[in-house]
Assembly symmetry: C2
Homo-oligomer: 242 residues x 2
Amino acid sequence: MRTSSPTADPKGEPLESTLEARAELFQDAMGFSGISDREILKLAAMATLRRFTKGQMIFEQDQPCDYFHLVASGLVKVYICSASGFRMTYLLARRGEPLNLVGPFTGDPRFLCAEAMQATDVAHIPRHGFVRFVADNPILFSNIMAILSKAVDSANSRLIDMVEKRVEERLLRVLLTLLDKFGSEIRLTSAELAELAGTTVETTLRTMARLRSLGIIESERGQITIIRPASLKNPERLPLWV
Amino acid sequence: MRTSSPTADPKGEPLESTLEARAELFQDAMGFSGISDREILKLAAMATLRRFTKGQMIFEQDQPCDYFHLVASGLVKVYICSASGFRMTYLLARRGEPLNLVGPFTGDPRFLCAEAMQATDVAHIPRHGFVRFVADNPILFSNIMAILSKAVDSANSRLIDMVEKRVEERLLRVLLTLLDKFGSEIRLTSAELAELAGTTVETTLRTMARLRSLGIIESERGQITIIRPASLKNPERLPLWV
DNA sequence: GCTTTTGTATGACCGTGGTCATAGAGGCTA
DNA sequence: TAGCCTCTATGACCACGGTCATACAAAAGC
């Protein structure tokens, strides 16, 4: 039934898991609220878990999309990569967050790459099964649309930021977003922050030095601590989606 | 039945139209392929046409989304507007193109504004009716997802362009896109081009002067003619989505 | 133990492009 | 015809931030 398109085998190590554990994962996954337990079990039955090590790719750009991916544990960055190697991270996903909501519907290759930032487990559902499931549970459509609308808005909002905001402002917005999502202890390197803010490592380090001298943050290798969260919460500054 | 939320009356002048004319519009509208004629008639029955003059707003940001909009004639730009007044156009829609595919599903206010660039007619469908129609015609979901996936990819791709491409390259990409969509005669001003490329009018004018001296384009007031289309078709350079 | 790699830190340089200014040409209305 | 607005055009200025360089500390590998 499958065409002989250049599909890629899923990466990562297969992982044993119980149906209940998978069901529990989908139960409170982003975008899956309002689905009955019985339906959730169908999803869980289709899913398989795979384990990825730090730095391992979960999917790469220009590959057809054969699976829907949902993070079960760990942390994943989803980014786009330009021809010249420039990266822009636009999603940091942890347990319960999907990596590719759109891809499974078309199956077409996209620009996106996903990479594990830590040891990470990811649930895979074959795309056709996923699409059929969504068709059977129309509530999912509204959920997915709501998420996509945020994603599109966020991307467009960042576009404007790139034009009219300087690096410091963009970095503050990234920090605010991370504060909302991960709390005041942010375990990211300057390189990772740079990819989120759309700038270089050097400029990020310089800007961080300024923020440190202002007493807004403290930092050590691989970790940033936000000392004065209030100073990030400028009413002009909304958190990004991610 | 309607809540007393701060809904805005639709703008523009009501326009008489026949059911057949509206059906014909939806027939070949973007994203509506694969719908039976009988179903199309239902859509057409829900729709009303409104006329807008050049410069008139079709919807504005932070307004709840009460209608699905489809362009029947003319040209509309959909853009986001920053607090400081900076604009970034991300869609030029003409006959058959929807203005807000996502909004009707959530109804929430978004960042977007839509403005008529010429005398323009737009079909309005109340959002609840539209959502119900989509639920009854699941093919629409895949169509919409396919369009959204392009929109998200395009936004992300432009994000990368903003970081690593200089203005000339971005402008060339915009010109290539416009060439594909409108042909070699592009009836836009430098200000409109600037909003598409994410730069200022002055820089656009300077860059256009350079392209003119290279013999790539010719231009007069309100119009750009691409003389050497081949020179835009660098294999590195993909057209944007719109 | 050593070496290598990764992350942080900072200086020097300078190009792109934003801002402000001025000016003229084309089009519209009164 | 005058007056006004829009669009085009171009010069002068300079700051933000990218690039390249060096240095050092911490972690990781062998």
